[in-house]
């Protein structure tokens, strides 16, 4: 029986096109993703083979989620096909074997649902075969096709995932006997999946997140997060570790569901619910007289409202709607209560954070819109009431518009409900600054156009297509598919992308600007366009019993009254005018280049101008700026006077300038004339006549100005805005000389254009001499210079430039400020203007100032403390602070970063200012970030590395280390620091896994952030633990004294020469292992047991395993001889908060037994209990102590 059902189901489906169609979709997607860069599945492939097991696994796990919808179709069919054809009563009355029927069908559906996903394998295999031959991808980007990866993916992911989805859908289908419910079930699984992802948003919950992931997708992500490229190319996922447990959990879960649903399945029809009709009381005979009724001229308004209302309640009462509604609520709630932003902390429930959460539900609302657009248009015909309705005297446009409005109103009520929910959440959280205007404008700019245009468009699509399912398909293509097509065609105009508009981001400082004007016009363009489509679709509206388009249209002929034609032409004309207006603004007034064009331009620039790379260029030695910012006009005028010197021993005769496309620039070079203007690459050539002789200086005047014109396709510049303008000196001046920053950097793209590999950072040299005359920040265009600025802005704002404020005055409606730096500094400045409140504190003659928005005062005291703490620690341990002021300046959240300029530190409003620190008595993200940026006042601004390998270690590693040390200075327990180090460890290990070129040892770091921040800080922190805080700081301080504010610039070797004498001989290996090589540890605690001795003390025996691994630049690892000092320790508590005992032991063997005498009972034991060594898997370092 089983066999019969199994094979007949299989045979039936294999004769249907569905399975092949699904297979083809998957195949095509994967093939495209594998053999082009235009299509991506689960992120870019990066540096590993395009057919690596890691890529196969990523593709498989992502496609499995799509696969759910296939599964829904197959399992639902297997359960309900007999019912659909009304065959079940005949079939079920035959002597069927329940087991064979139930599981035969199920197994066949299971097999069928995995078939489309085989498309992944075929796509990869074919891509491997064809892409190199066709020349799409270089042959060396492919490794051998690994069949074993296909096999393990099939059994690890595809089969279990389809089993999981199938068991639930099959159960639902049998239970509810409704296709819709089955698909809703599939949807629920997807939601559950996305909710489980919330658990992963902080490192602490990673394991939990990996367990609850129903598809094992993120489980694999957790496992592979530290994989090096080599490992990604070779490792196959296997039934082990986290993945084993995850798969075990979900396979068992599926089997339980299946068993339960089998037990409750019966061939007998479920009794259709019959509500016992209440015995009717002999009802009173009422005799209603026939009323006199006025059948007047039909009333447009009444008919419209009646249509609207009857459709509105029908959706609102629809089960599918209620389920989707419920799930969007669950999604919203889970989004509100979970999710950490930084270091396990959350922001206050600011209104803009709430509106972001509301936007997160829009996917559900879109699903509701797609589904009900079809439902609404078809319900009259589906329920066969169309003829009655159609034969009533109403104008066809009335139901068309009323239905659209009912759909739209529903989304509005959903939105209002969501707003109500999040406002409640804000109140529950005790947050009372509820900004209803933000809710309103968020709605106006985002949700309103999205829902309105979507409702209108989808209704029109359903009417025109006149086939419900085809209509659904067209709808999905418009919403999702259009962008794929546009990206393939390299079209970036938002006028063609569905509901495209510039990116709008709300900032507490700047509101919805500066792109809101563009967004408004784009939205208007879309709304009117959608209405035009809707009115046009009125012609296609199927009234009466007509079906073909010809008939539908002919039926209308002669009935297209003048009013309708007027409407069409008015709306059409308005739309065309809008389109022209938007086109003029985004394509002519603010033209842009597509990404392909930009790529080609970069290639061309490199090919044309690379030869000037080493051409001599003058250095700036003094700068005077006169800056006028007009925040409300979004404009700026700047005139700069730069004193330049020819630092070479030969004359400079030509000068290459990279001018800006956005800024108007006017140059005045004495003795130089413009000889060539390359409009395509925005390059100007000046020739000096007479030549600019060696050692000579000259004063250059440059006038630059910026005007905002209309609105742009991609949005307005965020540099000059209403409140929070933020410019740096690179933006306002032309670039001198060949700019290698304009080169294409992606290795694969460079290959595509046949460019040689990008120049690497200059190699680290000992005694570099003249090669150390450039630092990596300013690239040899200046050293430490004096700067004076006069900056003006509108009267209600404060403008800030580097240095001390010397004067401040008002003239008309403008406010002027004159600043001058107190000490020659790096030529690396920012100019800022906004409405600020200033919090001040004086620390030993230094003015600490925090310029912040008036709404963001809550964490200011903590910030002042952090600045003060940093100043204290750094001046004591490194050297004096060289400025008279120390400013933190808030800027709008268009970017999320903090940055150190000499004496000033711009800090984004998005993190720090709005983080909830009420329950934090410990160090936190603010302390960490401020201490880091403060440290840059020494490391980067007093001493900065030469422009060669290892340069960033001297600024970023030192700053991150300094930051850790200030935190350590107030940490109450040794364990507190582990929490912070954890993030640096993770940053390093994750970073090296994603390395696209090659990993280098710390002292040769090439501006790779995971190395200089992550590894650098961890290593320096560990080093001070091993040799002493004083020793490391002494080395730093001596190094600083030797090199501050001088050229040539130092290298990492120079620093090591100060460090090495501080390291005792016994630990000398640390310099080699940690700084000069790539060393990782793989330590673990095998077991820990304790015995109570007679003395009342505990003898704790630890069995430990330690190994040291050296890695090369591409991730090849080899174990090396062990000769290490490593900590072991005991915790009193299972939360690992109190380290009761710690000892540093010398290890030479892979396996060691250690005995410790503890005076009280330990809960846990650990090797490297404070996590100071770089250990690829740290979790296994700690074990509970077994008490014998």
């Amino acid at each position: 029986m089983f066999k019969q059902f199994f094979f007949s189901e299989l045979r039936y489906n294999l004769r249907q096109p569905m399975v092949y169609l699904f297979f083809f979709i998957v195949f095509l997607l994967v093939f495209a993703a594998n053999s082009t860069d235009n299509v991506q599945i689960g992120g870019s492939i990066g540096n590993v083979h395009r057919n690596a097991p890691h890529v196969i696994t990523t593709f498989t796990t992502v496609m499995c989620i799509f696969g759910l919808l296939f599964a829904a179709a197959f399992f639902n069919n297997a359960a309900l096909r007999d019912r659909k054809y009304n065959f079940q009563e005949i079939l079920f009355s035959t002597p069927l074997d329940k087991f064979g029927y139930y599981f035969g069908r199920f197994s066949a559906a299971l097999v069928l649902s995995t078939i489309p996903l085989l498309g992944v394998f075929f796509g990869i295999a074919l891509g491997t075969l064809i892409a190199p031959l066709a020349g799409w991808i270089e042959p060396d980007r492919f490794g051998p096709v690994q069949l074993s990866a296909f096999v393990s993916n099939y059994f690890l992911f595809i089969l279990p995932n389809m089993l999981f989805a199938g068991s639930i859908i099959y159960m639902l289908a049998h239970r509810f006997k409704s296709t819709i419910t089955s698909f809703v079930g599939a949807l629920i699984i997807i939601v559950a999946y996305s909710v489980s992802g919330q658990f992963l948003s902080d490192l602490d919950n990673e394991t939990l997140g990996a367990m609850v992931d129903t598809f094992g997708n993120r489980t694999y992500g957790v496992i592979s997060k530290y994989y090096t490229p080599l490992e990604k190319n070779t490792f196959n996922p296997s039934f082990s570790g986290l993945l084993f447990w995850n798969r075990l959990i979900w396979i068992s879960f599926s089997l339980v569901v299946l068993a339960l649903s089998y037990m409750s399945f019966s061939f007998a029809e479920r009794k259709t619910k019959t509500k016992a009709e209440k015995k009717q009381h002999k009802k009173e005979i009422i005799d209603i007289l026939k009323p006199t009724v006025h059948v007047g001229k039909e009333s447009f308004g009444h008919q419209f409202f009646s249509f609207f209302w009857i459709n509105f309640i029908s959706i609102y009462k629809h089960v599918t709607f209620r389920i989707l509604f419920l799930f969007s609520i669950i999604l919203l709630i889970s989004d509100l209560i979970s999710g950490f932003e930084y270091f396990g902390l959350q922001s206050y429930p600011l209104t803009y954070i709430m509106t972001d959460s509301i936007s997160g539900t829009s996917l559900f609302v879109m699903i509701i819109l797609v589904f009900f657009s079809g439902e609404l248009i078809w319900r009259d015909r589906d329920f066969r009431i169309n003829e009655v309705v159609d034969a009533t005297p109403h104008s066809t446009l009335i139901p068309l518009f009323a239905k659209t409005l009912s759909l739209f109103s529903l989304t509005i009520s959903l939105h209002l409900f969501f707003v109500f929910m999040v406002v409640c959440y804000q109140l529950i959280k005790g947050y009372f600054q509820i900004e209803f205007s933000t809710y309103f404008f968020h709605f106006l700019y985002n949700s309103f156009p999205l829902y309105l245009v979507t409702s209108v468009t989808l209704v029109a699509v359903q009417v025109i297509v006149n086939n419900k399912y085809l209509g659904y398909m067209v709808s999905v293509i418009i919403i999702l598919g259009l962008d794929i097509i546009l990206s393939i065609m390299d079209i970036q105009s938002n006028m063609l992308s569905y509901l495209g508009s510039p990116y709008l981001i709300y900032s507490d400082m700047n509101g919805f600007g500066p792109s809101n004007v563009g967004v408004f016009w784009f939205n208007t363009y879309w709304i009117i366009g959608a209405f035009f489509l809707l009115i046009i679709s009125g012609v296609f509206w199927a009234r009466g019993s007509v079906t073909s388009i010809k008939e539908r249209m002919r039926f209308k002929q002669g009935k297209l009254n003048k009013r309708y034609l007027m409407l069409v032409s008015i709306v059409g004309v308005v739309w065309v005018v809008l389109a022209v207006f938007v086109y003029y603004n985004t394509q002519i007034l603010n033209s842009y280049k597509s990404s392909d064009a930009l790529e080609k331009l970069a290639v061309n620039y490199e090919e044309t101008y690379k030869k000037y790379k080493d051409a001599p260029h003058p250095k700036v030695i003094e700068a005077k700026y006169d800056i006028a910012i007009f925040p409300y006009e979004k404009a700026a005028n700047i005139s700069s006077k730069l004193l330049m010197i020819n630092p070479y021993d030969r004359a400079i005769d030509t000068l290459l300038l990279n001018v800006s496309r956005q800024w108007e620039e006017e140059f005045n070079f004495p003795n130089a004339s413009l000889v060539k203007e390359d409009e395509k690459h925005n390059v100007h050539f000046y020739v000096f006549d007479p030549p600019f002789v060696a050692g000579d200086t000259l004063e250059v005047k440059i006038k630059t100005s910026y005007r905002t014109k209309g609105f742009a396709n991609g949005g307005a510049s965020t540099s000059i805005i209403k409140n929070g303008s933020f410019l740096n000196n690179f933006q306002i001046l032309p670039g001198i000389g060949y700019d290698s920053g304009k080169e294409l950097s992606s290795r694969n793209k460079r290959r595509k254009y046949k460019l040689p590999p990008k120049d690497r950072m200059p190699a680290l040299e000992e005694n570099c001499g003249v090669n150390c005359m450039e630092n990596y920040l300013t690239n040899g265009f200046s050293d430490y210079i004096n700067v004076e600025t006069v900056i003006s802005t509108s009267k209600d704002q404060i403008a800030i430039a580097p240095g001390s404020l010397l004067e401040e005055w008002e003239e008309g409606d403008r406010k002027y400020f004159r600043y001058q730096v107190d000490h020659p500094s790096q030529n690396f400045y920012s100019f800022i203007s906004a409405k600020y409140k200033i919090a001040k504190r004086n620390w030993e003659g230094v003015d600490i100032e925090i310029y912040h928005d008036k709404k963001h005062g809550v964490n200011i005291e903590k910030m002042l403390d952090a600045v003060e703490r940093s100043l204290t620690y750094y001046t004591k341990n490194f050297g004096p602070y060289t400025h008279k002021q120390c400013r933190i300046i808030e800027f709008p959240r268009f970017s999320t970063f903090a940055q150190a300029f000499p004496g000033t530190m711009p800090y984004s409003e998005a993190f720090g200012f709005v983080i909830n620190l009420e329950d934090e008595d410990k160090n936190n993200v603010i302390d960490a970030v401020i201490a880091h940026e403060m440290a840059h006042q020494w490391w980067a601004h007093q001493v900065v590395g030469a422009n060669m390998q290892g340069g960033t270690m001297l600024s970023e590693s030192f700053s991150e280390y300094s930051s850790l040390m200030t935190m350590k200075s107030i940490a109450k327990t040794p364990m507190e620091m582990r929490e912070f180090l954890k993030y640096d460890h993770d940053r390093y290990l994750r970073g090296r896994a994603g390395e696209l070129e090659k990993e280098l040892p710390l002292y040769k770091v090439e501006n790779q952030s995971y190395i200089h921040y992550g590894k650098g800080s961890v290593i320096l922190y560990a080093l001070q633990d091993y040799i002493g805080e004083d020793k490391v700081n002494e080395a730093l301080s001596e190094f600083l004294t030797a090199y501050k504010y001088t050229t040539p610039y130092p290298t990492s070797l120079d620093f090591l020469s100060y460090l090495e004498p501080k390291v005792p001989d016994s630990l000398n290996y640390l310099i080699k292992d940690w700084f000069k090589e790539i060393t990782l540890y793989d330590n673990r605690l095998i077991s820990a047991s304790a015995i109570l001795m007679e003395s009342g003390e505990y003898e704790v025996t630890l069995e430990i395993e330690a190994s040291k691994i050296k890695a090369d630049s591409i991730g090849n690892e080899s174990a090396v001889e062990l000769n290490e000092w490593i900590d072991i320790g005991l915790f009193t508590d299972t939360d690992e908060k109190i380290l009761m005992h710690q000892k540093r032991i010398h290890l030479t063997n892979a396996k060691t037994m250690v005995t410790i005498i503890a005076d009280s009972i330990p809960a846990k034991a650990a090797i490297d209990p404070r996590h100071i060594l770089i250990d690829r898997v740290y979790d296994d370092n700690i074990k509970k102590v077994k008490i014998d």
């Binding site: 009717q280 009646s306 066969r384 003829e387 009655v388």
Partner: protein, 288 residues
Amino acid sequence: MGKLQLKNLTKTYANNVKAMDDITIDISSGMFGLLGPNGAGKSSLMRTIATLQEPDSGSITFGDLDPLKNPKEFRKILGYLPQEFGVYPRISAEQLLDHLATLKGVSNKGERKDLVHYLLQKVNLFDKRNKSVKGFSGGMKQRVGIAQALIGNPKVLIVDEPTAGLDPGERNRFYDLISDVGEDVIVILSTHIVDDVRELCTSMAVLNYGSIVFNGTPDEGIHELEGRVFEKKIERSELEKYTQNYNVISNRLIGGKPVIHVLGEKPDEDFSAIAPSLEDVFFSKLQG
């Protein structure tokens, strides 16, 4: 009140089926029965009159109104109950009728409510007015259907196969309702049940393969056949012989044996003359 005049209506569907083949009839007030076997084109004709589809050619006039050119005006005086009257799920009888009453131009809310209540009472559904129509039985649904068709005092009432699926009691109640409408109203009733026409209609037409094969009063039809219909009980095996030799217009089984009706001269002594029924008219017209 005016007459409904159909002239030369023709309609051919995409699959070459001739649904209407040069149909010309005048329909005046009172009940008009449209009789025809399944697939004769009754519904196409009804839908065409109800402005739901257009003929390929031909014209319709009602007084000075041209429903084809100005369907909106005609719809104002039209009541239509299609063959399959479906209802929205999750909507109560009262809500549904209220909606349709609004569409038919009963704009005053109070009047509309009174009207809906009156009609619900009339079709004996007043106490179920808040129930979802979807859960109604076929007969109850059909009663909602007639209630909606009566909204707004239609001058032309079209009911397409209204009694299909109704039990005899429901059928009778249904006809009571229809015969209750005013005398100056044109009621077009399509059916394939001869008795319906016999009992209700003052005039009738028989439709076959899209063309009118008879148009007149039922009595006229019967009168035409007076003395020309004969009946005989035969053996089953003889059926073929009789059909070949005589003009057999119908046969049916009575007590397991075929009884045939023959049209024309009395064939032989074994045949007995009978008074022709409307059914004989129907069958004879179908044979042309």
